[in-house]
Symmetry: D2
Subunit: 364 residues, 4 copies
């Protein structure tokens, strides 16, 4: 199998470390370039990083020499994964795209650009058509292969939209959607992330910017490809109303979300039909044979007290999403509990799976 | 001041221990009788109990001899607080009422009896009219003072309805109400309560029977006194729709609830009007001068990340409720976060405050 | 490869579930018999068990029909792993041994029998000679292959003795040894184990019987095989003094132990020599090629703040032990921090590795 | 009663906030000056601080205008409490002393100065004689009242030495002392303190500098006043050997310490005598009638599983220390578990109590 050359931006940070873990021993990608701050540049990765993962630092990454985050250093990369902090991502990622590189970013900076696909790979890989379109247009015009950027969604949005996709496909539009989240602390990174004294024996019922992200990103991810494939069109407020309440809880990994939704079409489907729809959903990435694609995209759990983060977050290595407690809702149509692994399908893992899809489609 | 004689049923359990703490040094009540299981009867309380409170066992309770839960043992009590497990409460509390005793119970057994007031003392003390009515009727008929039972609401219901009361009074009926709770483990008691391995680094998105309790009890607590004062009439599903999703979280004390609501009347009030309404609410118990009544019934917090259980649960000694993040909701009208102390205003504390109101009204 | 038939006693309990996980897809063992209480007998395992592991219930175990814990049901087993509660282990395991079965038990009942090896497989597999001796004696006498029992050590003892073994081998006897433990809650099982309210934001500085177990078992595990190989001789109090202080902490898996020790021989070795000795130790199980044997028996960590349970407990799949902060001690000679996975090398995992050693030695 | 004027240095920090809480409504002190960084100077305290205490910000402190940490701003203060970070404390506190101010500091900078008393007020208030001596010498020489500094001990040292003092007084010198600590996270402050992801479901077996502080400070606190009262003489390594192992645990407040000790004199006292000695100890501060002095200095707990931080840290409002599990130690003489409130007797509270002692002795 052809192995593509990969680089990681923000390699010493929380998301960067996870990209590195997921790329170690990956059949499709060979990690060759690690970019970080000036302070780290020139050091061996093992000396530059404060490694904080539960898996050991991969041997293959230890001795890579960290470079600065300049496009010239990554020029041989077929794909670049960005775990940059949003303070830096805007400028650096722009430079990379202009240099013709393929960037898959976890930063929020370009998520709202209409021409940038915002992709949860188990949900809306069809939005990658925007990239195909761009690549083919350039080809038709005899231009060199263009750079592009693909954004990974916010972690809590990923879990939310996973079950919505098959439901909308089968039962039509969702008119109203509410979610209250119980989010893990790993999503906050570790410099310093959530202080221990703030979260021990405590809940913080606020995550800056998160509710707005969930409400906005849902409309893009469930939105439609424009007819000329140049961009994605958001769902309008008339098409879907979304309301999110976000809480930080003392859980290491795994976002739990209590969601309620109402379909536009009447009568609403039965609980059993909803369960069946979710269970039978197979994401395109799996059909394409992607290495990391979950065998079971959505696990519908029947035990009354599941899903639980400690017990269910690692299903399908964190690429699968668990849904439980599907039942009727006295206010909207249905309520249910969704659990997703915030650092896998909600962050770095999504980036890897997007790259696998790009590869399967010959876009990198 | 006249001090009334008080007894506690289920004195060795979690709720019973808190009744005892709250009664120690209480200006209105003298704790004289402690009832527990046969196994404990005959022992000094200090020897019978596995004391698990953060405050020390009060000296005044240590040497009381535990009795069995028989009405004859409590015949001198002006008021009896019941912390009995629901497996036993049904039969025992019935016997007590029939023996003419005034029972304030934390058990769920009689909450749904129309003639039994279900009272959150900072919310619906007017439902105690059912008791007044019963007492006066007996008097008019020349009968002896009758026994009666008053039920304390479920812990998560108490927090939910606290802000609703002033809102309904000022802005009219609530048409739809949703809540997702993040509930502390102390509410589950300790025999064994929630196992540590189930809740460490974890969320349990299910509490048996809790959602139904919240949805039902809200309709009774916000319901109206029947015109003949003999019972309380529930709000109908047409009057209010309530949907609850209940989660257990790794927090010791303090229930956090994310709520959304829609008023029936249009236009809906502004966020500022809602805040003002909540801030200015003074509960009747405070106006009556009750010892434990919160000086500030509802604390409206303006910091974006509050209320938090560890920081806010003890406001007004746990009798006050905190509300924060009041903002517009894209689906219903408003969303907000409510925090209440589940073992004070959500359980034993409510019982004590109900007794103080009864005393102020000469009903005990 | 020949696959041996395995059974599990106490299959629905905490330790039993872990045996089943470790036996799924094991190259040497085929799990065929699951024994549990009468209440569970006759049911499919999936219906009998309240599965509480972070890994899913193995497909291969789901449909096994649970039997009662009778030797006749296990007569085809080459090895039986016992996760029985000590209330039942005494009688049942005795019956199994008398029926000629090979039992590897996590229960404490027979640990103090001189003729029963108490084995931490990365430490003292040579004590299995007691079993060889028994088997060969029977053979020599023309008797059928005898049943026997091998005990797994207490979880906190396993971590303690792991680094002691190579130190004693290289530097001679340890005169004094102290340890203060910070033990995970998974060791307490889940019926109910440690209540959440007891361990959230809390430490319990007491684990019933644990200190005595650590002090006693250390003397047996580090003890010598009697010259006739019929039993193991304990180290005497003159040979080694051991003092343990045991604490339960809010950690799910992984026991941390702060240990100090003094060698009998003077001068004491240097810190560097101690580190080297530990790093270079290779356990016999690894030399024998056992499937689960850790590649690195003892991981000597140089970072000042390691080992940590969340980051280091899974080294070598939980079969390796981590040691850090090796430094001189102003009172004894050295102090260090040891971390071991309490449910792997401290319980079920040790049982599996013992069985692998028995197999490699043709004892099953 | 005469009320003295008090100031707080580092008023917005973790320790500063606690000084402010303890000074609110204090009968002896009136809080008038709050010093913080330039960034905060000029603002109302309520606007400058990120208040993180479980008690509300006292009304009396809200509107105080924060000043810079200059002696001229504090010139009217009878006593100044310093919660400064050690990066700043060295220079600022020196300036204050030179300006004739009485400084009680929680910073580590001057603890090792022989002429600076290092005081745990329930343990060694006699070391304040160094201050008396200095004041009286100045008086005798006709000089103005001199400034001075008194250091509060490290938090974990305070808990350790509390039970040692009465033991040494009654049974003579301690030859060897070991301790393994389980320390709360509140001691690490909150800028950022211990990151949540580092301490959730985890132990950190390392606190920078802490072990050395415990080993050294113990020798000063238990040391003797020089015959000329000019300084304190440390115990020598020959007089006492101390070994500490420090761990950070997921507990909000309350340091648990497992200690073992050996007396010099033979035979060692009995367990019962030790218990009696500790129970009967009354600290001088209580005898002097100090407001915050614990009624019971050392609580000897008989339950096998106590003390526990969540249940016992608030005894005597955090000024009392709890000791449990006193028993013989196979290696040294005795082992026991000590619990102390790290932010009260281990930090700000000690500062307040020291000031109360100074006041009772007319030293401020």
């Amino acid at each position: 199998m052809v192995r593509k050359i990969a680089g990681v931006l923000g390699a010493t940070g929380s998301v960067g470390q996870r990209f590195i873990l997921l790329l170690a021993d990956h059949p499709n990608f060979e990690l060759k370039v690690l970019g970080a701050s000036e302070r780290s540049a020139g050091k061996k990765y093992v000396d530059a990083v404060n490694w904080k993962q539960t898996d050991l630092l991969p041997e293959s990454a230890k001795d890579l020499i960290v470079t600065e985050c300049k496009a010239s250093e990554f020029k041989d990369c077929d794909v670049v994964f960005s775990g940059l902090d949003s303070d830096f991502a805007g400028k650096i990622e722009k430079e990379f795209v202009e240099a013709g590189l393929a960037v898959i970013s976890n930063a929020k900076n370009y998520r709202r650009e209409p021409g940038v696909p915002l992709v949860v790979p188990i949900v809306n890989p069809e939005h990658l058509e925007v990239v195909s379109h761009k690549v083919e247009s350039a080809k038709a015009e005899g231009k060199p292969k263009p750079g592009f950027i693909i954004c990974i969604s916010n972690c809590s949005t990923a879990g939310l939209v996973a079950p919505l996709k098959p439901l909308v496909e089968q039962f039509g539009p969702i008119e109203a959607l509410t979610t209250s989240t119980l989010q893990a602390i790993s999503g906050a990174g570790f410099s310093p992330g959530v202080p221990g004294i703030d979260i021990l024996d405590n809940i913080v019922p606020y995550i800056g910017g998160e509710e707005d992200k969930m409400e906005w990103e849902t409309k893009k991810i469930l939105g439609h490809l424009a007819s000329d494939k140049s961009h994605v069109e958001l769902l309008s407020p008339e098409e879907i109303k979304v309301s999110a309440q976000c809480n930080r809880v003392p859980v290491s990994d795994g976002h739990t979300e209590c969601i309620s939704l109402k379909f536009k079409n009447r009568p609403a489907p039965s609980v059993e039909t909803v369960k069946k729809c979710l269970s039978e959903y197979v994401c395109d990435a799996f059909k394409l044979g992607c290495h990391s694609a979950p065998k079971q995209t959505i696990h519908v759990l029947d035990q009354p007290d599941r899903p639980q983060p400690r017990l269910d977050r690692n299903r399908d290595a964190g690429y699968g999403v668990s849904v439980g407690r599907i039942r009727e809702d006295p206010v909207l149509d249905f309520k249910m509990v969704v659990l997703s692994h915030n650092t896998v399908i909600g962050a770095a893992g999504s980036g890897i799976l997007i790259a696998e899809i790009l590869l399967a489609r010959n876009l990198i």
